[in-house]
C-alpha cells in the first residue's frame, strides 16, 4: 500500500501495519526500531498543527476536476474574486497544483515573491482581503519546472497549510491539479483535522470529461469529502456575430445535468464559453469586473451565491471549536 516507502526492503509490511518492524523482512532495515515502536503508525503531527493553525479559517472549499484543462483554476480564481467583493470577508486562494501553478498568472501576480515573517510565509495580496499562495511565487523564472515526485509535493502542501501566515479567514479556496493522487490525498488528509466544508467539482459537458468526474466523485466518497456541487464549464458558445449557440464540447450523454440527476448531486450551474474569460485570465484580471453583464458572469454570480449559501448552512468543525 501507500505506506510502504519506495526504498523499503522487499516484503515490507508497510509502516502503519500491525506487523511493522516485526516481520522477518524488517530484520536489518535501518528503520526497524521506529516501526516496531509504533511511532510510524501515529497520525502525522502536522495534522494537529494544521488544525490549530487553521482554527481561524471559517470555510474551506476544494475545487476539483477529473480532467485537466476544464477550467479549475479559472473557476477557483473567479470564486475568490467574487467572494472578496464583500469587503467584510477575508478570502484566500491556495494553489496546490505543484507542477503546473497557473494561479499567479490568472490573478495577475506573476513574478511576485513570498516574504518571510515571524509568523511564517506571507501570502501575496491581490486586494486587502484577497490573499494568494502558490508554488509559482517560489520559482525564480517562468521556465522553472518543478520535477518532483509525490512525497516532495506532499511536503510542500503541508508547508502551505502549516507555515503560511493565513491569519483570520472567512474562506480558504484550494485549487487542485487534475486527478486523484498525491496532492488530493494530502490536502484531504492534512485538512482532515481542521475540517473541509466540501468540494466543488468542475467538468466540461462531454462524456470523456464526465467519465473522469465520476472517478473524482468516487474519490470524494472514498475519503468522505462532502460535495458542494458540480459546475459545467465551457457549456456552449454563443457566436458574437450571429448569436447562434454551438456545442463545441457536445453533451452527448446529457452533460453534467444528467450526471447530477443520476448521482443525486446538486448542479451549481453552467458557465458558457466566452473568449473574454480566457483573455481576462491571461491578463490577470477578474472577468467578473471586466464584463459584469455577460451571461458567463451572471452564471458565475449565481454559482457563487449557491456556494455561499452552502457554507452558511454547514458549519465546519473549525467553527464549532471556537
Amino acid at each position: 500500500m501507500a505506506d510502504i516507502p519506495v526504498d523499503a526492503p522487499q516484503h515490507c509490511p508497510g509502516t502503519t501495519s500491525d506487523q511493522a518492524g516485526k516481520t522477518s523482512a524488517c530484520q536489518g532495515c535501518p528503520n526497524q526500531n521506529i516501526c516496531s515502536s509504533g511511532a510510524a503508525k501515529a497520525p502525522d503531527p502536522a495534522i494537529d498543527e494544521i488544525k490549530v493553525k487553521l482554527a481561524t479559517v471559517k470555510h474551506k472549499i476544494l475545487v476539483l476536476s477529473g480532467k485537466g484543462g476544464v477550467g479549475k483554476s479559472t473557476f477557483s480564481a473567479h470564486l475568490a474574486h467574487a467572494l472578496a467583493r464583500d469587503e467584510t470577508k477575508e478570502v484566500a486562494l491556495l494553489d496546490v497544483d505543484i507542477c503546473g501553478p497557473s494561479i499567479p498568472k490568472i490573478m495577475g501576480l506573476e513574478g511576485e515573491q513570498v516574504h518571510q515573517s515571524g509568523s511564517g510565509w506571507s501570502p501575496v495580496y491581490v486586494e486587502d482581503n484577497l490573499a494568494v499562495m502558490s508554488i509559482g511565487f517560489l520559482l525564480s523564472s517562468p521556465d522553472d519546472a518543478v520535477i518532483w515526485r509525490g512525497p516532495k509535493k506532499n511536503g510542500m502542501i503541508k508547508q502551505f497549510l502549516r507555515d503560511v501566515d493565513w491569519s483570520e479567514l472567512d474562506f480558504l479556496i484550494v485549487d487542485t491539479p487534475p486527478g486523484t493522487s498525491d496532492e488530493h490525498l494530502s490536502i484531504v488528509q492534512y485538512l482532515g483535522g481542521a475540517g473541509i466544508d466540501g468540494a466543488v467539482i468542475i467538468t466540461t459537458p462531454q462524456e470523456v470529461s464526465l467519465q473522469d468526474v465520476r472517478k473524482e466523485i468516487g474519490f470524494c466518497q472514498k475519503v468522505k469529502l462532502p460535495i458542494i456541487g458540480v459546475v459545467e464549464n465551457m457549456s456552449g458558445f454563443v457566436c458574437p456575430r450571429c448569436k447562434n449557440t454551438s456545442q463545441i464540447f457536445p453533451p452527448t450523454t446529457g452533460g453534467a445535468e444528467r450526471m447530477c440527476e443520476e448521482l443525486n448531486l446538486p448542479l451549481l450551474g453552467k458557465v458558457p464559453l466566452d473568449p473574454r474569460i480566457g483573455r481576462s485570465c491571461d491578463e490577470g484580471k477578474s472577468f467578473l469586473s471586466e464584463v459584469p453583464d455577460s451571461s458567463a458572469a451572471v452564471a458565475y454570480g449565481s454559482i457563487v451565491q449557491k456556494i455561499k449559501d452552502y457554507c452558511t448552512s454547514h458549519t465546519t468543525s473549525g467553527e464549532k471549536s471556537e
Partner: protein, 209 residues
C-alpha cells in the same frame, strides 16, 4: 475515445495482451481503464504505485513488433513522467510532442514542460497548438475562444519546431465521444488536414533518424 469501452485484458505467455482497436490489429492499446472492474472506479494511488504500474505497462505488455509507440501522459512534470522516461530509456525515446492551447495560462505550463524535457534529455519533436480558433458553423465567423498564436510564439521563444494548429471543432469532440475515427469520418474538414499535416511531419521526422 477509441471505442473500445469494456474490453478485457488477457494474459498470454509473453505478458498482457494489449487491446486492439481494429480487426487488422494495427492499433494496439493499453490503459488502466481496461483493468478496472467498474468504469467509474477512482484510482486513488500515490506516486510509487503509479510508477510501478507504468513499469509493468512497458515491460509486461506483449506489444509485439511496433513501428511507433505513442505514450499519452497526464499534465505536469511528476511521477508518471519520470516513470515513463526511466522505463523507456533502455528502449530509446525518439522525442516528445508538446501540446498547448493558445492562451498564456496554458503556454506558461508548457514552458515548464519544455524545461522538464531539457533537464531529462528528451528531444522535443515539436509543439502543437490545439483549440486554436473556432469557426462558427452558422456564419463562418472565426472566434478565438482561447486566444490565438500562443503556441507558435512559444515555439519561437524556446526555439522548438512548431508543428501546426488544430482548430476547435465540435465534429472532432463529437467523434471522440462516439469513438468514431474522425480522420475517416470527416476527410474534408480543415481539422482533418491540420491533424494529418502534423502527423506527416512527425513521421518524416522519425524516419530521418
Amino acid at each position: 475515445m477509441l471505442r473500445v469501452c469494456r474490453p478485457e485484458v488477457h494474459q498470454c505467455e509473453t505478458g498482457w495482451v494489449p487491446v486492439y482497436a481494429d480487426a487488422q490489429q494495427t492499433l494496439a492499446l493499453m490503459s488502466i481503464g481496461f483493468l478496472l472492474e467498474h468504469p467509474d472506479e477512482a484510482v486513488v494511488w500515490r506516486g510509487p504505485k503509479k510508477t510501478a504500474l507504468i513499469g509493468q505497462f512497458v515491460s509486461d505488455v506483449a506489444w509485439g513488433e511496433l513501428d511507433v509507440l505513442l505514450v499519452d501522459t497526464p499534465p505536469g512534470t511528476s511521477d508518471e513522467h519520470l516513470a515513463v522516461l526511466e522505463n523507456l530509456r533502455k528502449h530509446r525515446v525518439d522525442g516528445a510532442v508538446l501540446v498547448t492551447t493558445p492562451q498564456a495560462v496554458s503556454t506558461g505550463d508548457v514552458r515548464r514542460e519544455i524545461t522538464f524535457c531539457k533537464k531529462t534529455g528528451v528531444r522535443i519533436l515539436g509543439l502543437v497548438e490545439n483549440m486554436s480558433g473556432f469557426v462558427c458553423p452558422h456564419c463562418s465567423e472565426c472566434s478565438n475562444i482561447f486566444s490565438k498564436g500562443g503556441g507558435e510564439e512559444l515555439a519561437k521563444l524556446t526555439e522548438s519546431e512548431f508543428l501546426g494548429s488544430v482548430p476547435l471543432d465540435p465534429l472532432l469532440t463529437r467523434s471522440l465521444e462516439e469513438g468514431t475515427d474522425f480522420l475517416q469520418a470527416f476527410p474534408e474538414s480543415a481539422t482533418f488536414s491540420a491533424i494529418n499535416a502534423i502527423a506527416t511531419t512527425l513521421l518524416s521526422r522519425l524516419q530521418d533518424d
